[in-house]
C-alpha cells in the first residue's frame, strides 16, 4: 500500500492558484503601478530568533511561513495537504517513509535544497542541548530518545545525548531520504507542513544565532529587515521554484501593542491587512459599517475548552463532568459575549480540520438544565461527593474573563444552589501555565488549542492521550489510547479518520474537557488590496496577497 500525500506548506502560500484563476490575475508580478508594492500587515515582536525549530508563536511563525516552504503545503481553502517541495512521500508500512525532494528548489542564498537540507535541519532541531521549543515534533522519529534524552527527575539536568543524529533519518541520495518512525504513523506526512520541518541551508549551521536575526529560507519571500518592536519586512524571492510565488514585492509586519491602534490605521488606509479584528470592532458588528465588504470571516483551527482536573477528588465522576457540560448554555454565551462572531462547540475539534465530526459531543454539549440536575442527582445518590465550589481557573491577561464568568453564571443558574461555581483569575498566562504544570489547581482550567496541522488527530492526541504533552487534566483511558494507536497505523485515510472519530466519541462519555467555543477570525483589509485570502490557520495567504 503506498501512501502518497499531497500537501502544502502552511499558512501563506495557500489557495493561490485557484483563487488567482477566479480573480483573473495571471500571477508573475503585479501589473499595477510601476513602483514597489508593499503590503503592510499587523504583527508583533517574535518571542524568539527566527529559527524554525525554535519558533512556536504566531508573530514569528507568520514571518517564517513566508520565508520557508516545506515538503508539504496545506490548501488555504480546504486545509488539505499536498506535496510541495516533496516530489513524493511513499511508504509500505506506515513506519518507513521515502521522501523525494523536487530538484530545482534553492535557498535565498542560491544554494540548492537537497535531502540533506532536511535531514540536517531535523537533526539539529531534535538535538537536546540545542534546547529547541519545537524539538518534540521529531519525537516519533526513530532515535529521538538518543539525541534528546529526558531526565528521570524533571528537576535534574537532562543527561548527555548518546548520539548527535537520529538513527531514523537516512540520506539515500541528493534528493532522497528515508525517515523511520518508532511506531507506524500513517498521518506522519501530514505533519510535514509545519514550520519545524523546514529545510535549512548550510549557512545556518555555521552560526545559528546570527541566522536567527537574518534567516535564509526557500520560501516565496526572502528576509528583508527587522527593527525590534517596530517592523519586519520580507521581499519577494525572484528565483522561487514553487507554484505559488509572491504577487507583491514585499510584506511588512507593523508591530502594534495596542490593537485598536491597528484598527484605526486600517480604517485610515495606513495598514493594508489586519488579522483578528478587535472585540471593540466586532461588537455590534461595527466592522461591517466600517469596512463595507472588505473583510473575510472564517472559522479558525482554534477552540477553547474547560479542562477538568479529572483525578482530583470531587471531579472523578464522569456523570458529574457531563452534568457540568450540560449546564452550560453555549449558544447564549456565543450570542451575548461574542455577538455571534464565535461558534458554540459541539465536539473537540473545529470544523475546518480533516475528520471533524459535527456533534461529536452529542447531547452532553446541549444545554439542558433538567438533565444536568438529574445526572448530578444520580451521582450524588451513588455517594459521589462534589467539590464545595467548582473553581474555574483562567488567565486574566487575555479576553477570557467575560466568557468564563458567563459559564460560571450558567452553571450557577442550572444547579440553583445545589452547586456553586466560581471564576478564579490568575494574573498572567505564564503564571497560569506554571500553576498548571505544577498541578496547583483543582477544578476546571481554561484551555485552548490552536491546530499545528489540520487534522482531527491533532486535537485529540496531544491533549487526551495518556501522558501526552498537553494533557493538562491528566486524562487517561485505555480504550481511547488504543483507538488513537490504531488510527495511526491505519493507511487508509478514511478508515483512520473513523478510528479517531470513535475515540472522540469516548470523550463525550468521559468529558475530560468541556468544549465551549470555536474561534472564527475576521480579517479586514484596506481599499488598496485587490486580493486577500485567509487560510484555516487564520492568517492571510501571504504569497497570494495582491495590491
Amino acid at each position: 500500500m503506498s501512501m502518497r500525500a499531497t500537501r502544502f506548506r502552511t499558512a501563506f502560500a495557500v489557495a493561490a492558484a485557484a483563487v488567482m484563476a477566479v480573480s483573473g490575475c495571471s500571477g508573475g508580478g503585479d501589473d499595477g503601478d510601476a513602483g514597489q508594492t508593499t503590503v503592510t500587515v499587523d504583527g508583533g515582536q517574535p518571542e524568539n530568533p527566527l529559527v524554525p525549530a525554535d519558533t512556536n508563536e504566531v508573530f514569528g511563525g507568520d514571518v517564517l511561513d513566508t520565508l520557508f516552504s516545506g515538503l508539504v503545503r496545506y490548501d488555504p481553502e480546504t486545509a488539505d495537504p499536498e506535496n510541495y517541495v516533496a516530489d513524493s512521500i511513499e511508504t509500505e508500512d506506515n513506519q518507513t517513509f521515502t521522501i523525494t525532494v523536487k530538484e530545482g528548489w534553492t535557498f535565498h542564498d542560491g544554494t540548492e535544497v537537497t535531502a540533506e537540507s532536511f535531514v540536517d535541519a531535523w537533526n539539529w532541531g531534535a538535538y537536546g542541548p540545542n534546547a529547541n521549543l519545537n524539538a518534540y515534533w521529531f519525537e516519533q522519529i526513530e532515535g529521538y530518545d538518543e539525541v534528546h534524552p529526558e531526565a528521570e527527575d524533571p528537576e535534574a539536568d537532562p543527561p548527555e545525548p548518546e548520539a548527535e543524529e537520529m538513527s531514523g533519518l537516512e540520506v539515500i541520495d541528493d534528493y532522497t531520504f528515508e525517515v523511520t518512525l518508532n511506531d507506524p504513523y500513517a498521518q506522519f506526512p501530514m505533519r510535514l507542513g509545519y514550520t519545524a520541518f523546514a529545510p535549512l541551508p548550510e549557512v545556518f549551521f555555521e552560526d545559528p544565532e546570527a541566522f536567527g536575526r537574518d534567516p535564509v529560507g526557500n520560501g516565496p519571500f526572502r528576509f528583508g529587515s527587522w527593527t525590534d518592536n517596530q517592523e519586519i519586512t520580507v521581499e519577494a524571492y525572484d528565483d522561487f521554484a514553487g507554484s505559488h510565488a509572491a504577487q507583491v514585492d514585499a510584506v511588512t509586519w507593523r508591530m502594534y501593542d495596542d490593537r485598536e491602534a491597528a484598527y484605526a490605521d486600517l480604517l485610515a488606509g495606513n495598514l493594508d491587512v489586519m488579522t483578528r479584528l478587535t472585540p471593540a470592532a466586532m461588537a455590534n458588528e461595527v466592522y461591517k459599517d466600517d469596512l463595507g465588504d472588505r473583510y473575510i470571516e472564517q472559522e479558525a483551527g482554534l477552540m477553547f475548552t474547560l479542562t477538568v482536573t479529572g483525578n482530583e477528588p470531587g471531579y472523578d465522576d464522569a456523570r458529574f463532568r457531563r452534568a457540568l457540560s450540560m449546564a452550560i448554555d453555549r449558544e447564549a454565551i456565543v450570542d451575548e459575549i461574542f455577538e455571534g462572531t464565535q461558534l458554540a462547540s459541539n465536539g473537540w475539534a473545529p470544523g475546518v480540520v480533516i475528520g471533524a465530526q459535527d456533534g461529536a459531543c452529542g447531547e452532553a454539549c446541549e444545554h439542558s438544565p433538567d438533565q444536568a440536575n438529574d445526572l448530578l442527582q444520580e451521582a450524588l445518590d451513588d455517594g459521589f461527593e462534589p467539590p464545595e465550589e467548582v473553581e474555574i481557573w483562567f488567565n486574566d491577561d487575555a479576553d477570557h474573563r467575560e466568557w468564563v464568568t458567563a459559564v460560571v453564571n450558567s452553571i450557577n443558574q442550572t444547579f440553583d444552589g445545589e452547586l456553586e461555581a466560581v471564576a478564579k483569575p490568575v494574573p498572567t498566562f505564564s503564571e497560569f501555565r506554571s500553576g498548571i504544570n505544577g498541578d496547583q489547581y483543582s477544578g476546571l482550567l481554561r484551555t485552548g488549542w490552536q491546530m499545528d496541522y489540520p487534522h482531527l488527530e491533532n486535537f485529540l492526541s496531544p491533549l487526551y492521550e495518556t501522558g501526552a504533552s498537553s494533557n493538562d487534566g491528566d486524562y487517561s483511558n485505555e480504550e481511547f489510547d488504543r483507538l488513537m494507536a490504531e488510527g495511526r497505523q491505519e493507511s487508509d485515510r478514511d478508515a483512520a479518520v473513523e478510528k479517531y472519530r470513535e475515540a472522540e466519541r469516548i470523550l463525550a462519555e468521559d468529558m475530560p474537557a468541556v468544549p465551549i467555543y470555536t474561534a472564527r477570525t475576521i480579517t479586514g483589509y484596506s481599499e488598496d488590496m485587490s486580493n486577500v485570502e485567509v487560510t484555516p490557520f487564520g492568517v492571510p495567504a501571504f504569497a497570494n496577497l495582491e495590491k
Binding site: 529547541n132 529526558e150 518592536n229 503564571e431
Partner: protein
Amino acid sequence: MGRYALRRLLQSVPVVVGTTLLIYWMMWALPGDPFAGRCGERACPQDYIDAMNAQFMLDEPLLVQYGAYMANLVQFDFGLTYNMVPVATLIGQTFPVTLRLALIALAVEAGIGIVVGVIAGLRRNSYFDTLVFASTLVALSVPIFVIARFAQWGLGVNLGWITPTVSNEATWAELIVPGAVIATTTTAVLARLARTTVAENLSADYVRTAVAKGLPRSRVIGVHVLRNSLIPLVTLLGLDLGTLMVGAVVTEGIFNIDGLGGLVYNHILRLDSTVVVPAATLFVLIYIFANLLVDLLYGVLDPRIRYE
C-alpha cells in the same frame, strides 16, 4: 555652584544602586516563570527552560544574579532580553523617541499652561479667567486615553489630518499630537498654578512698592511678578520631565509609538528584568538630573537662594 552640582551627582550613586537592587528584587519576586508561558498550551520542554535559566542565571541566588548583572552593567554590557534582542538596541532605539515626545509635551505645557495661567491671573474674574477655569476642569477630569482615542479617531480616521499612528521614524511633526495629548493634564495644572501664583504675587508688598515708585506696568509684571512666580512652575515642570519619560505608556500604546514606557511595561508583563532594570536606572538618572537642573534654576530665578 560647581561643587554643589558635583555633590548632588555623587549622591545619585547610592540612589541608583539602591533603586536597581529594589527593582531587581521586585522583578524577581513577581510570581510566574518567564519561560513557562512560551509554549502555548503545553508545558515547555525542560531542557529549554534549563537552558534559559542557565543563560540568564535565574537559578542562582538573587544577590549573585544582581552582582553579575551590575558587573556587566558598569561595563556598559546590557546583555540580551529573554527574546534574545540586545537590550542596548531596544533602549537606544526608544530613548530618543521618548525624549522627543517628552520635550514636545514640556513645550506645550510651558507654552500654553504658563501663558494662559499668567493672563488669567492678571485678569482675575474676567471672561477669559472663567473660560480657563472651565477648560482646565475638563482637561483634568477627562482621562488621557479618552483624549488620545478622540484625537486618533477624530484627527486621524475621520478628518485624515494625521495618520492614526506614528511611523517608525517618529519625527517631531508626527509627535506633536501625541505630545499635546500627554501634556493636557499638566498644562491644566500649570495654568491653575500660574494663575494663583501670579494673583498672589500681584498683591505682594514688593509689587506695591514697585508700582508706587513709578515703574512701568510691563516691567512690574514682566520682571518682578513673573520671575517670582516661576519658581513653583519650574519645580512642577522639572518633576514632570521625569513623569513624562515613564508615564506615557497609555498614549504611546494608542499612537503605536515605540517608546521607553511601553518597552518597560511590556517587559514587566513578560517578567523580563533585563530591560526593566536598566530602563529604571535610566529613569532614576533622568529624575536626578532634572531635579538638579531645577535646583540650579532656583538660584537664577531667586538670587537669595545660594548653594554651598
